[in-house]
Amino acid sequence: MSQRIVVGPFNRVEGDLEVTLDFADGRVSAAYVNSPMFRGFEQILIGKHPLDALYFVPRICGICSVAQSAAASTALAQAAGLTPCENGRISAALTLAIENIADHVSHFFLFFMPDFARTDYAGRAWYEDAHARFKAIDGSARRDALPARARLLESMGLLAGRWPHTGALQPGGSTRPIDVSERLRVYGVLRQFRTFLESSLFGDALEVVAALDSVDALQTWADAAPRGDFGRFIRIANDLDLWRLGRATDRYLSYGAYALPEGVLYPAGVWHGAAQALRLEAITEDHSHAWMSGDSKHPRDGVTVPQPDKPGAYSWCKAPRLDREVVEVGALARQVVAGHGLARDMIKREGGSVAARVVARLLEIARTLPEMERWAMRLQPDQPFCSEYVVPRDGDGVGLVEAARGALGHWVSVRRGLISRYQIIAPTTWNFSPRDADGVPGALEQALAGVAAGDRRAPVAIQHIVRSFDPCMVCTVH
C-alpha cells in the first residue's frame, strides 16, 4: 500500500525546503524535492553595470556570499580578458577558503549534529553525551564553536572589510591591501583557529587527520583516543550505520578549488568510478519540472522566466545535468576528485553516504587550514593588490568556484557595456534538483529512496540525509 506525505519546513538548511515522500512496502519509493522560494536575481542583474554584480550576487546568499563574489569577479575578469595580480589571487583564495572553513564548522555544529540530540535516540550509549554537547541552542558545543567561528571571521574584517556581503573581491583582485602588521594578524587568527580545531573538533594535530588515508586508518585513529567532536561523530555514525544511508549517484563534480598563481589546490574534474575530464559544454539546465518556462539550455544561453502555474512542475529549482547525468557536488566530491585516499576509499566501499559527506567536510578543514596559514604569509604588502579593470563593451565570461557546499558557476554576458545575461548554477541546484525531462530524479531524491519508514510520520533518517549535503536553499533558486 502506498502513502504520500509532505515534509517541511526543513530548518537548519539555510532557507526553506519541502520534501514529498511516497512510501510503499515500508520504504520511501519516491521523493520529490521542492525549493519553495523564488527571488529572481538573474533577472535583476540584466541591464545593470557589470560591476554592480559585485554588490548584488553576494546578497543571493548569507552563508556563501564570498563564493558568489568570487564567481562573479572571476566571470567579469574573463569577460574582460583580465588576469588579476598575484596578491589579488592569493587574497581571493584565502578569503574564499576562510568562508568555506567557517561554513563547514557552522554546518557541523549548528545544522547537522543537533539531530543526534533528538529524543528519538534516547537510550543509545552515546545519547547523553551527544545531547549535552550538541542540543540545538542549548548544547555546550555552542560555547566553543560559535566564538571560535566568530574569531575566525575576524580575519574577514581585515581581508574583506566584513562578512557576509563584502565588496572587496574584484575582477582585478582585492580592494583591500594588507600591510605587514595586518598580515601577521590574519596569520594569528588562523593559528588561533587551529588551536580550537585541534583541541575541540579533532583532538589531534590537523596534519595527522589530513594524513588518514583510508576508512581503516580513520577507524583505528578514532578508536585510539576520544578525538573530540569528530570522534563523537564517528562513534554515532558506526552505531547508526550512517555509512550506508543516503547514497545518491556516486558521480561527482568539482570545479576545482583555490585558484592560486601556481595552480589550484584541489583540481577540477568528474569522478564516476574513475577520473573523467570536465567538459563545461556538457552542462545544461533542464526546466521540465521547474516552474520555469522554456526548455533545456546551456547556461551560456539560459533564461529565467517563472511560470508559476506550469503543469507537472514541483519546484522553483531548475535541473542541472552534466552530459544528461545527475551529479553530486560538495566537499566529498572535491576530495574524491582531488584523489584523497580516505575520500576515495569511503565511496569505493559504500558509495556516497551521510557519514562520507560529513567526514569529507571535516577532512577538508584539516587539509585546508595549514595551506591557508601559508597563503596568508605569501601576501606581499609592497606589491599591488588589484589590477586595473576596464569594463568591456562586449564580452562573455564564466566564473567557476567551489563554495563550501560544492560547485558554483556564473555565466555572464556583457553587451554595450551592460549585463545582457546572467545565469547561475549553485551547488544545491545540482544536489537538490527536481526530475529532468527523462524523469530521472535529482541527487537528494535518489538519496532518499529506500529509506525505511519508522514510528514517526517522517523518519528521522530523512533529516540526516537532507542535511548531510549541507544544502543552501537560498542559493539553489536565487
Binding site: 553595470h49 572589510g161 565588496g167
Partner: protein, 331 residues
C-alpha cells in the same frame, strides 16, 4: 520573552551575521536578558510538523508571542498571491503567516533592509513584488498597513542594513526585553536610533583624505571613496566605523564604498553602485546637513592645500610617503 524568527525573501545573511556577535556566548546573553528563542529556522531542533504546530498555536493566539522577528522581503507576487514563497509543508504564502503573527506579537521586528523596506530583492523590475513589513521602499505601508501598531504599542522596528550588524540586533532585542525601547527611540524610517543616529562617515579611517578631497580613483587606493568610487558614508545612517564589523572591519576599511544599505531604496540608486554621480564635476550627493556652497568652496580650498603625502598616498595601495619626522619633538 518568547521570540519567533521567520525568514522569507532574503539570503539569511542577517542571521549568519548575528552569529558573528562579539560575545563568548550569544545565546547565553539573550537568555540572560529573558529572551527565549521558541523557533529560529537556522538554529532550532524542531522541524516540519513540529514547526507547523508551533506556528499554528501562535497564529491562533493559543500561545502568547512577544517578539516576532522577520528576515527577508515579503514576496507578494505573482499577482498578489504570495506564491513566490509558500512555507514548506503547508503550501501557505509566508505573507499570510507573517500578517497573522504580526497581529499577535507584542513587538514586530524587521531584521535587515529586505524585511524593513524591500531591499535587494525589490531591485530591477521587482519581479516578485517584494516589499517590507511596514514600508514599500520609502513609502509607508508594505505588507502591513502604514498605521500598523503592534500589541506592545510600537510600529514595526526596522533594523535596516544589508546585512545587519550583530550589535544592532542584540542591542535592539535587549532594549525591548528590558522595556527600554519606545516609539521615540525610532527614527523617521523606523530604525532604532541606537545605531541610526550616527553616520557611516564617523570614525572612517580615510578621514584625512576626505578633509583634503584626496580621492581614490581605483579599487585598493587608500584615498577617500566619496568623490569617484560611489561612497555614501557621509550620508548613510549607521555606526559602521565606530561599531566595527568582524573585529576591525567596515566597508570603507575594506576598500569598497558604502552603498547606504541601511537606507530605503539603496538597491536602485539610479547609478552604478561603484561610481559617484556628478554634475559639472561636483558629486550630486553632498554630505549630510552640509550647504552646497560651503562644500564646493571648502573642497576647492582643501584640494589646493593638499599636502604631497596625502595627495600621493590617496592614489596608491600602500604608504608611499610616510608622515614627516619632527626632529625637535612634538610640542
Amino acid at each position: 520573552m518568547k521570540l519567533l524568527w521567520l525568514q522569507s525573501g532574503g539570503c539569511g545573511g542577517c542571521t549568519l551575521s548575528l552569529l558573528c556577535h562579539d560575545s563568548p556566548d550569544l545565546f547565553g546573553q539573550l537568555a540572560d536578558a529573558g529572551i527565549e528563542i521558541v523557533w529560529h529556522p537556522s538554529l532550532s531542533e524542531a522541524s516540519a510538523d513540529e514547526v507547523l504546530e508551533l506556528l499554528g498555536a501562535y497564529e491562533r493566539g493559543e500561545q502568547a508571542l512577544d517578539l516576532l522577528c522577520v528576515e527577508g522581503s515579503m514576496l507578494r507576487g505573482p499577482h498578489g498571491s504570495g506564491g513566490y514563497h509558500r512555507m514548506a509543508g503547508s503550501g501557505r504564502p509566508l505573507t499570510d503567516i507573517v500578517r497573522n503573527l504580526a497581529q499577535r506579537a507584542k513587538y514586530v521586528v524587521a531584521v535587515g533592509s529586505c524585511a524593513a523596506y524591500g531591499g535587494i530583492t525589490a531591485a530591477g523590475s521587482n519581479l516578485t513584488d517584494a516589499c517590507g513589513l511596514q514600508y514599500d521602499e520609502r513609502q509607508r505601508g508594505g505588507l502591513l498597513d502604514a498605521g500598523f501598531i503592534s500589541r506592545g504599542g510600537m510600529p514595526v522596528i526596522n533594523i535596516a542594513g544589508c546585512p545587519t550588524h550583530p550589535g544592532w540586533v542584540v542591542d535592539t532585542l535587549m532594549s525591548l526585553a528590558m522595556g527600554q525601547l519606545g516609539p521615540q527611540d525610532l527614527d523617521g524610517v523606523g530604525r532604532p536610533r541606537l545605531y541610526a543616529d550616527r553616520l557611516v562617515h564617523h570614525g572612517c579611517t580615510r578621514n584625512e583624505f576626505y578633509e583634503f578631497k584626496a580621492s581614490a580613483v581605483q579599487p585598493s587606493h587608500q584615498g577617500c571613496l566619496m568623490e569617484h568610487m560611489g561612497c555614501k558614508g557621509t550620508r548613510a545612517h549607521a555606526d559602521c566605523n565606530t561599531r566595527l564589523w568582524n573585529g576591525q572591519g567596515s566597508c570603507l576599511r575594506g576598500g569598497f564604498p558604502c552603498i547606504a544599505c541601511t537606507e530605503p531604496g539603496f538597491e536602485e540608486p539610479g547609478h552604478p553602485l561603484s561610481q559617484t554621480p556628478k554634475i559639472a564635476g561636483i558629486p550630486i550627493g553632498l554630505p549630510a546637513d552640509m550647504p552646497k556652497a560651503w562644500f564646493v568652496a571648502l573642497g576647492a580650498l582643501s584640494k589646493s592645500a593638499t599636502p604631497r603625502r596625502v595627495r600621493e598616498n590617496a592614489v596608491s595601495f600602500r604608504v608611499e610617503v610616510p608622515p614627516e619626522d619632527h626632529k625637535s619633538g612634538l610640542k
